[in-house]
Symmetry: C2
Subunit: 341 residues, 2 copies
DNA sequence: TTGTACGCGTTATCAC
DNA sequence: GTGATAACGCGTACAA
């Protein structure tokens, strides 16, 4: 059953030429006569020769492989990013090696070691929530392996990164709610130790002050899950009057809030408008459909990979790090369009 | 900046011993004196030695890498599977190389070549919708590389596979609807050229006949997207009376149906019960929450990988192929619980 | 235009 | 217990 793999030597033996000639011929080296090249190509095809990438990698001290470290694969946004990464990699002849950190710092460090041991040509990483120190990432640098952050960068590390304009996007959402006539806008924020949570809150605050709306402390709570949002709406209902808009840190949170509102018999968007963040699949199909921000995960993957490949292919070191910002798109749907009410 | 990678030779030089001794010491070979082993371990740690997996792979004609070919990464179910695969792989010291076929047969064939070129230790495949011929998969066999199918197997190829019990699960869903007092149950089916679509329909039919309910042709249409389901409900509403239950091929379809029902002012589950399939994230958070089948994607990934690793580690060839069935779990939620109405 | 010789880092085998 | 040597498959400087 098991056939010994065909190597360059086998082709050479068949044609009674040397392995090196075969090697060159296979790469269409113009130094080799067209005739020989054709012969080699023929035999290679007939024998179903497949170059051993591992051997090539050993020789060149680098494999055509891109390493990816991601907090969790099971996450719509991240799966979009991976898809974008894979697409570009595929088209450029690279393969993708995936590791998930499960949001653990030590596992992330382990992932780095593994990828370096595999001699990957470059690494794409979105740091885990837990990660505080970055020595394991600096390690990558020391080995001369290019590194590009996506979505979540390591604060303080001057490296290439592809990130979202969370602040501006949040600002746009809030502005939109204001334009719809809302003035008492509550924000269900994400954890404030994460840059994304912080930046989105900042954008919200900015839009308020811009519109001359005085912010009130009780308008902002950290609530970033379906359940927390549900409970928070219920609490707001009892403690103070309901606001006329809720801007949530993510879509799931928004859906939790909507569930509570519906149970309270509150009209959406008639009495309370709602907006989320991320453009998960459910934002489009929720009822009413949810206003949100499309983060373009796929594009982020594409951009990050292109940037990485550029680094891999450029010999020059010491080029200044690049920060690419992928602009989030405000998607206005039914939960916020007062016009139709 | 760029440091030359530390190799076994560097350690050997430092300790003035031979590379082979270092190699053995690093693997805790008992032939090597404890003293030497400790010295080696020390120096390795100090120099931050990292074994070059590529070189090892070349030597052993196999790399500790598992190849995965998947139709689309951006799919909740598949992302769960990948997560399960990665988890097991990580714990066993393997890494995961991901390729997506984008449901294209030729790309799938390409993926196979790439993975073989990378000398992967084994391959996990879920075949694309388009794939008809399987010569590229037989190629894997010829190279002596173990192959395990997950979710979608190649019909006719006697290989290891981990699949869902679609027929039985669909049957359970339908039975449940019948138990809730439904008798005019409509099925929005998936494409009938895919085994999953076919099997689910079969399960539905089986449950009906089992309960002595005569099936009527107009009860079953192929509608497997949000929009199609929406339109189909609207059509049913006009053409014939609405059924008292709708069993959909997947969750998204169910949500489309629900949207239409809600617009028609039909009570769910009071007048029409609804059930989906897949247990996507939105089934839990939809309002009312959706009865569905949990396909345990993560578990499928885990099982498939374990099976693959078993094959990789067993020398014996010619062991009969194994088919593992992951049982889907009926998750009863609000769209079908008549008891509460 | 082609062949020779060597090395990439690791490990299996044989020798001491 | 340890060392020397060869080999995995490929690429390339150098020689012819």
């Amino acid at each position: 059953m098991k056939t010994a793999p065909v190597t360059i030597k086998d082709i050479a033996r068949q044609l009674k030429i040397s392995p090196s000639t075969v090697s060159r011929a296979l790469k269409n080296n113009p130094e080799i006569s067209l005739e020989t090249r054709q012969h080699v190509a023929e035999v290679a095809a007939r024998l179903d020769y497949r170059p051993n990438i591992v051997a090539r990698g050993l020789k060149q001290r680098q494999s055509a492989t891109i390493g990816v470290i991601i907090p969790e694969i099971v996450h719509y946004f991240f799966s979009q990013v991976i898809s974008g990464i894979e697409e570009v990699a595929y088209n450029e002849g690279y393969t993708v090696m995936i590791c998930q950190s499960n949001e653990k710092s030590d596992r992330e460090a382990n992932n780095v070691r593994t990828l370096l041991a595999h001699q990957v040509a470059g690494i794409l990483v979105s740091v885990s929530k837990e990660t505080a120190g970055f020595s394991h990432l600096e390690e990558v640098d020391k080995n001369g392996v290019p590194l590009v952050f996506f979505d979540r960068a390591a604060p303080g590390m001057a490296k290439d990164q592809v990130i979202n304009d969370n602040r501006e996007s949040a600002c746009r959402v809030t502005r939109h709610l204001i334009q719809q006539g809302c003035s008492r806008i509550v924000h269900f924020a994400g954890p404030q130790n994460l840059s994304i949570g912080k930046e989105r809150k900042e954008g919200y605050l900015h839009a308020l002050s811009e519109a001359g709306i005085a912010f009130r402390e009780e308008w902002c709570t950290v609530a970033d899950t379906f359940d927390k949002a549900y409970q928070e709406v219920m609490r707001l209902h009892q403690v103070l009057n309901l606001p006329d808009a809720i801007f949530c840190n993510n879509d799931l949170t928004a859906l939790g809030a909507m569930k509570a509102l519906r149970q309270l018999g509150v009209a959406i968007p008639g009495e309370v408008a709602v907006a989320g963040f991320s453009n998960g699949i459910f934002s489009e199909i929720s009822d009413p459909s949810l206003t949100t921000v499309d983060q373009h995960g796929y594009d982020m993957g594409v951009q990050a990979t292109r940037l990485l490949l550029k680094r891999i292919n450029s010999q020059k070191e010491g080029e200044p790090p690049v920060t690419m910002v992928v602009r989030g798109d405000l998607i206005i749907r039914d939960t916020s369009s007062r016009g139709s009410v």
